[in-house]
Subunit: 216 residues, 2 copies
DNA sequence: TAGATTGTTAATCGATTAACAATC
DNA sequence: TAGATTGTTAATCGATTAACAATC
C-alpha cells in the first residue's frame, strides 16, 4: 500500500540479527524500547517500520521474538529458497563462499564462476569453480536470482552485463566502481574501500582547531 | 560551520571514485550535470555537497578534475598517512589485505592480528600475522587509527573492546553483529549478509500481484 | 484496576530538488 | 556578447520523533 522507503528495508535485516540473537538466548518477548536500546534507534521508528508490514506486536506486552523473526523473514523473502551466484573466485570470492553456513535461511551461493582457466575446476568448499560460458545456462538451471561480483573493478561492468543477460534480478557489487544496469535490475554496493574512506573523515583532524578556524 | 550530514560524507568517496576514473581517462573538467549522470544523482545535490567544503568549481566551466580530487582527498584526510590494523586472518581478512594496493592513497593496513596460535607468524603478502598480545603496543607504535574486524560474530565484541582499549579512533566491523563502543569511537558496519538480505526484499515476489492486493 | 506498550496521527526535523543571480 | 554552469536561497519532499488513544 504505502511506499516503503529504502531506509526501512535496510533496517529489517538488522532487526532480524538482533532478534535471532535474543532467540538464541531464549528471550520470549521484546519491546520496541528494548530493541531501540540495543540498536541506538528510536523506539517509535522501530514500531513504525514494523507497522508498514502488519500488526506484529501486542499492546502492553511487546513483540513475540519467534513470531517477529518469522514475519521479518517472510518480508525479506527468506522463507523461500533463494539461489545466489558469484563471479570472481579470488580471495574475496572464496571468503564470501565460506559465509554460506552463515546465510543458511534458504539463501545460498549455489554456483561460482571465474574467467581465468587456471582457476576453473578448483574447489571452494563443496562448490566447483565454473567457466564464464556456463554462467547463463547455470543461472537458468539453478534459478539464480542474485549475482555477486568479486572481480577487479575493470572487469566488473562486463560481469554485470553477463549477469543481467543471464536473467538475475539483483546484483551485489564488491568492486569499487559504479555499474550501469537496466532499471528493472536492483543493484547494491558493498565496496569496503568506500566504507573505509568515509570512516576516515570522522577521525579527528591532526592540527585544525574546532572553534576558531584560521582565516586565510 | 554548518553540520555536515552523514549522507554527504558517504557520497564523497563515490565522487572520488568517479573523478579518479575521469582523471585516468585524461578528462580535465567535469560539470555537476555530467557527474550526476554517471552517479544517478541530482546535479544540485552534488554542487551542494561540494559547497559545504568550499568553492571548488568555476561558474560557466565546471570542476577541474585534478583539483577536485585533491580537495576531496583533503576532506577525507587521505592527504596524510593513515594506518589501519586488522584482526582476523581468515579468508576475509586475507582478502582485504590484498586491497592494500587499491587503497594506496596513504591509507594502508599496516598490521594483522589473530587469536589463533596456529595462524600467528604466517605471512599475508608482506605482513606477518601477529598475536593479540601485540595489538596494543603495535597500535601505539604504528599509530594505527582504524581497526578492521574480520572475526566470527561471537568474538567481534571482544576484539572491538581490545581495539578501543588500544586507542583506535574508528572501527570497521565485518562481523554480522551490532557492537557496543564508547561514544567517541566511530563505528561503521560492512556486513555483506545484511546487504544481501535487504537486496532479497526487492526481488519480485513469487505469487503476489502488484495492482490488486487480495483482501483477507 | 494500574502499568505497560503498541499502532498511528500529528509535529518536527532534515535532506533533496528547483530556481536563479552571479560570473566564467 | 551569448551560453554554460556554479554556489546558494527558497520550496518541496520525505523521514524521524513525539504524543496519545487503544488495549493487553
Amino acid at each position: 500500500m504505502k511506499k516503503i522507503s529504502e531506509a526501512v528495508v535496510r533496517r529489517l535485516p538488522v532487526y532480524l540479527q538482533v532478534l535471532n540473537d535474543l532467540h538464541k538466548r531464549d528471550v520470549q518477548t521484546v519491546s520496541s524500547q528494548e530493541l531501540g536500546n540495543k540498536l541506538d534507534l528510536n523506539p517509535a521508528q522501530i514500531r513504525k517500520d514494523l507497522a508498514y508490514f502488519g500488526e506484529f506486536g501486542r499492546k502492553g506486552i511487546g513483540y513475540d521474538v519467534s513470531y517477529l523473526i518469522e514475519k521479518i523473514r517472510q518480508i525479506l523473502k527468506l522463507d523461500q529458497p533463494l539461489s545466489v551466484g558469484l563471479v570472481g573466485a579470488g580471495n574475496l570470492g572464496r571468503a564470501l563462499c565460506n559465509y554460506n553456513t552463515y546465510l543458511k535461511d534458504n539463501m545460498k551461493i549455489t554456483a561460482v564462476f571465474d574467467a581465468h582457466p587456471a582457476v576453473v575446476g578448483s574447489q571452494i568448499n563443496s562448490l566447483t569453480v565454473q567457466a564464464m560460458d556456463d554462467l547463463k545456462p547455470k543461472v537458468e538451471e539453478l534459478n539464480i536470482v542474485i549475482g555477486i561480483i568479486t572481480v577487479p573493478a575493470v572487469e566488473a561492468q562486463n560481469v554485470a552485463d553477463r549477469f543481467v543477460d543471464a536473467g538475475v534480478k539483483g546484483i551485489l557489487n564488491f568492486a569499487p566502481t559504479i555499474l550501469r544496469v537496466p532499471d528493472h535490475i536492483r543493484i547494491h554496493y558493498a565496496d569496503f574501500t568506500t566504507e573505509l574512506l568515509s570512516l576516515a573523515y570522522y577521525l579527528e583532524k591532526k592540527e585544525e582547531e574546532d572553534d576558531e578556524p584560521a582565516v586565510d
